[in-house]
Structure formats: C-alpha cells, structure tokens
C-alpha cells in the first residue's frame, strides 16, 4: 500500500470522530503497543519525563482510562461527559518510507452537566504503516493555554 497525503489527513479526522463518538475500542486499536499519548504542561515543553505533564500515557494507562469511563463506580462520570473536536485541515509535515507526521489545529469542547469548556489544541501525530495499516506511533497534544488553571478534563482531547 502506498500512503497518500489524503490517507493521512483522513486518518486524523477519523481518529477525532472515534473519540467524539466514544468508540474507544476502535481508537485503542489504532495504537502501536509502545506508543505514548503526551499532553505537556509547559509551553513548548521538550521533556515528557523529568517535569510534570498533563498526560504521558502508555497503552496500559490508556486502556485503564477508557475502561474506567464505563465503570459502575466511576462517580465523576455520573452523568457522563461528552466531547467534540473541530479540526482544521491537518498539515502533513513528514512522509518518509512508512513513517509520517501530521500537525493539526483543533478546537476541543468537553461538557458535563451545566459546564462546558473549550480548549484550543495543536495535535502532532506520528503515524506508522504497519502490515498495510496506518497506526499511531505517538501523539502529542499541546493546549494553547496550558499554563491556565483547569477544572476536570475527563475525556481525550
């Protein structure tokens, strides 16, 4: 399979739709087993490990996060949150062999009960072609106002 620019762009849109529709099993299946979902705390943060991040989760932690959302005693999800991504067209920054990188600006809305918050995001996807399928090798999501005080962010921006 030859990966085109459109394939990469469609992939990023499809992923956001899975999150908005809560299709988490499909979403988890996009990930390579050694991937990390990183959401830095600091503006232009370069180190995920030795300073605090919002998220730096491996597949086990992502599975835990998703599994918890449906738990009988997940009190902060009674009632459940909902989310909504609006994407601008992803830039394809790198196409080399079977590795790819995209850069996408998004507006992310998360709501529960009477509260709704809007986050402006930049998502960087590292994608890989493995056995004919595009997969997420790593994903980094930067929040524009990362240094602001937040209330709960419960779903996946």
């Amino acid at each position: 399979m030859t990966v085109t620019k459109d394939d990469l762009i469609d992939f990023v849109y499809d992923e956001a739709r899975m999150l908005d529709e809560g299709r988490y099993d499909d979403w988890l299946a996009l990930w390579l087993p050694d991937g990390h979902y990183w959401m830095p705390l600091d503006y232009q943060q370069s180190d995920p490990l030795l300073v605090t991040s919002y998220l730096y989760e491996d597949i086990f932690m992502l599975k835990l996060r998703v599994e918890r959302l449906n738990g009988a005693r997940t009190f902060s999800q009674k009632p459940k949150s909902r989310c909504h991504h609006v994407l601008s067209r992803p830039f394809v920054d790198r196409m080399e062999g079977d590795r790819f990188e995209t850069w996408t600006q998004m507006h992310y809305v998360e709501t529960r009960l009477d509260e709704q918050q809007l986050l402006a995001l930049t998502a960087r996807h590292e994608l890989a072609l493995v056995e004919g399928r595009l997969r997420i090798a790593n994903k980094r999501v930067d929040i524009l106002n990362c240094d602001a005080a937040f209330r709960n962010i419960q779903l996946l921006p």
Binding site: M39, L41, D42, L49, L50, V51, T52, S53, Y54, L55, Y56, D58, F60, M61, K63, L64, R65, E67, R68, G71, R73, T74, F75, S76, Q77, D147, A148, A149, F150, R151, N152, I153, Q154
Partner: protein, 438 residues
C-alpha cells in the same frame, strides 16, 4: 455575624463542625483577615528565586505577594503593590527584576527589599511630608519571613507566634524530604499543575489525612488498574511498572490504613503513614542508596529511607509528600473556590529515575487530567453543594473521637482516625480568634 471570637469558636464542637466553615462568605472573609495573617503560610521554594533579583509572584490567602532574592542573598517577601497608586509591581509569575523593581505606572522604583529608591520629578514632593507617609517608605514587607531548608514561609501579621513555636517537631517531615537528597538540597522541577475546584479549601486539606476514602472514591481508577493488571495473566511476582506501583496501593484494605498510623502535632499539623504508607514499596533505583550512604553514612541513609510518611499537612494550607518530593498548596479563592497547585522537586545529586517517578506521580494523581483527581474533585463539589441542604447543619468528624483530646501535645493514633481533622479545626479556632474581641 462572625465578628466575635465566640461566634467563630461556636462553629467547632469537637465531634462536629458547622457547615458555615465551608459555605459562608463571611467566615471566608474572617479567614483571610485573621487565620491567614496569624499563621505561618508557605510562600515558595528558594530554588524558584535562586539569583539576586529573581522573583516569584504568588499569594498568601487573598494577599498578592512577591518572593524575591535580595542583593544580600536573603529571600524577601513583599506585598505586590506599589505604595503610590496600588498598581501590582509584577504581573508575570516569575522573572528577574535586576537590582530594583520599577512600577510600570509612574516609574517609582524600589530596592529588592522594598525600600524606596527613586521617584521621577521628586521635587514635586518637596515639603509635602512624603517621608512621614507609608508611600514614602516603599513597598511593604510582610510581618515575618523564615526560610527553612529552602522552604519559604511568611507571617503577614507584624507580631505573633514565632516560626519554631508554630511548627515544632512537624518540621521533621521537611527534614526527611530534604535529607533524601545526597546533597541535602531540593530544586523545583518545572511549573506546577494548576487545578481549580469549586469547593472550600479546607475540604482539600482534610482529604489529605482522610484514609477511609481511597478504596471507595478511587475504586474506579485504582481498582480498575488492579483488575486490568490481573487480566494480563502475568506471574504473581512479575515486576510492576512504576505506574502500577503508584496506583495499586490506593486499593489497599482498611486494615492497611488503620495500621499505617496518624501523628498529630500542635497548631494543626499532622501526617498519615507513621509506620508504613502507600509509598513504602517502590522499587529501589540503582545507585541512589549508594549515593545517599556516601553523603550521610549508612546508618543515617537507612533511617532517612525508613520513613515513608504519606501526607504531611502543614496547617493551614499545604501538604508535602517526603518520599515523592511533592508539595501541594490549597489556595483559597472564595468560600467555594480553591486553586490547587502541585509542585515537584528534584533531589539534587540523586538519579533522574527518582524525579521521573515523582513527575509521574504528580500527573497520574493530581492533574486536572488525572483519573484519580477526577473522583476527588467530584466528591468535594458534591459535598459543597450538599452542604446547602438545611435539614442538617453539621459536618461529622468524630471517627475515633475521644473525650478531652489534647491537641497541644503530639500523639500517634490509629491511621483511620479523624483526629487530624479535629486538630486542624482546633488550630483554626486558635488562629482565627487570636487577639479578636470575645
């Protein structure tokens, strides 16, 4: 309504406290005026302002202050207000001001200890008696400042209890955290998490020694983690990744928390995890023990690592975790608004893996994105809303209550006691009513 000492004292009745301590804007106003002025309150860590002219803007209660390194190397704490028109002198959260502060409004300038340095067109004040006014003296310093092993505390009130009297033996928790550095020094690592809660600040402080909630409120995160881990079908003794080491102990049974013990000290300080804690069984990091032995000697190194205190509350509004090198500050914004900032520190001279675990703990447990934090916030906010119910006006704090409890002496009790919550309220009345009219 809450102007007199008697009306404040009546809110705390041993086994129970009146809901107004959490919900009343008037009580909150009195807390800012009295409690946060009379107590020693954490300001920042000295490593946030390492060089002369370095400053860090923060608050003590509702008072905007600046922690600044003066030219003589001392850390000063000044009100963040120009004595001229009131303009905040610094607006960014940190930076370096050089040899002096300069107000951006009319260019009055001040040395980094607050003394007035210069005023443009000063002849306009000639013969007006500027020297006799507060404005002529410069930026106002807080009542007292104490730097204890890098942790900077301040008392806003000009007179009052001394630093050593206020903290007493509770400083042993800070000692243990700092002694974990082979060089006896901590350094702040990056910016803090900032997490906004729609509840009273005291609910968060009380939660720090609430050992009967983890297995209930955190079943959804820690319980699910344990379940998923089991489903992997690994052998019982398979090494757990750091994330599992951190989260699984939250599901420990009541007995574990009963046996871990709670110690209380005078003036509202106290800690969980006297004998062991959820931090006791982390995997050793290669090279760390050796580095600690080299600087402390084997005996002291062993003693330092044998302490695994869980949460130490420094009344009124911080908590530290020695074994994790974390400090959380519960910043009161309103009766029903609290900003929580969670800082982490590097143990200078220790391997990076320790800091990696510390950073992991901070994001996994205390971030606005944390699956553990989500359920805590939910509990606090349900409580804040539930307290509006008029059917019951009192909040119960009587687990393992005893008649004639003496909070002026140190005590070690069963780890599920609510004695530390009662200890905090005892200190709360003391510092709220200090010097107030009956």
């Amino acid at each position: 309504m809450y102007e007199t000492a008697d009306s404040i004292a009546a809110l705390v009745q041993g086994r129970q406290v009146h809901r107004d301590v959490y919900t009343s804007p008037e009580v909150f106003r009195q807390e800012m005026k009295h409690l946060f002025a009379n107590a020693w309150v954490f300001v920042g860590h000295e490593s946030q302002t390492p060089k002369p002219g370095d400053y860090f803007a923060t608050s003590i209660g509702d008072q905007p202050v600046i922690q600044v390194r003066h030219s003589d190397g001392e850390v000063k704490v000044l009100y963040n207000r120009c004595p001229h028109k009131g303009t905040k002198i610094v607006i960014d959260r940190q930076g370096n001001t050089g040899k002096f502060f300069r107000c951006p409004y009319h260019a009055w300038s001040f040395k980094t200890d607050g003394c007035l340095l210069a005023i443009p067109l000063k002849k306009g004040y000639e013969g007006t008696g500027l020297e006799q006014t507060p404005a002529g003296k410069g930026m106002k310093a807080v009542g007292a400042v104490h730097n204890y092993r890098g942790f900077v505390f301040a008392r806003l009130a000009e007179a009052g209890i001394g630093f050593d009297d206020f903290f007493g033996d509770s400083l042993s928790s800070i000692d243990n955290m700092v002694d974990r550095s082979p060089e006896g020094r901590l350094e702040v690592a990056g910016p803090p998490l900032r997490y906004l809660h729609h509840c009273n600040w005291k609910m968060l402080v009380e939660n720090q020694t609430d050992t009967c909630h983890p297995m209930v409120a955190h079943e959804s995160s820690a319980g699910t983690a344990v379940k998923l881990w089991k489903e992997l079908g690994l052998p019982e003794d398979a090494p757990k990744p750091p994330a599992m080491e951190i989260i699984a102990p939250f599901m420990s049974p009541y007995e574990f928390f009963e046996n871990m013990g709670i110690r209380t000290w005078p003036n509202g300080h106290g800690h969980t995890g006297v004998h062991h804690s959820i931090h006791s069984n982390y995997t050793a990091i290669p090279g760390y023990y050796e580095a600690l032995c080299k600087s402390h000697g084997e005996e002291k190194a062993k003693a330092v690592l044998a302490e695994n205190r869980h949460n130490t509350v420094y009344f009124p509004n911080i908590m530290i975790k020695g074994p994790i090198q974390q400090l959380r500050i519960f910043i009161p914004l309103a009766a029903n608004r609290t900003l929580v900032e969670s800082y982490i520190y590097r143990l200078v001279g220790a391997p990076d893996e320790l800091l990696a675990r510390t950073a992991m703990y901070n994001r996994m447990i205390n971030a606005p994105t944390s699956i553990v934090g989500h359920d805590d916030l939910e509990m606090y906010e349900r409580a804040q809303e539930g307290l509006e119910a008029d059917g019951l006006e009192w909040v119960n704090v009587q687990r393992l209550y005893e008649e004639d409890e003496d909070f002026e002496t140190e005590a070690v009790e069963n780890g599920t006691t609510e004695r530390q919550m009662r200890n905090q309220f005892h200190a709360w009345v003391k510092f709220m009513t200090m010097g107030a009219a009956r």
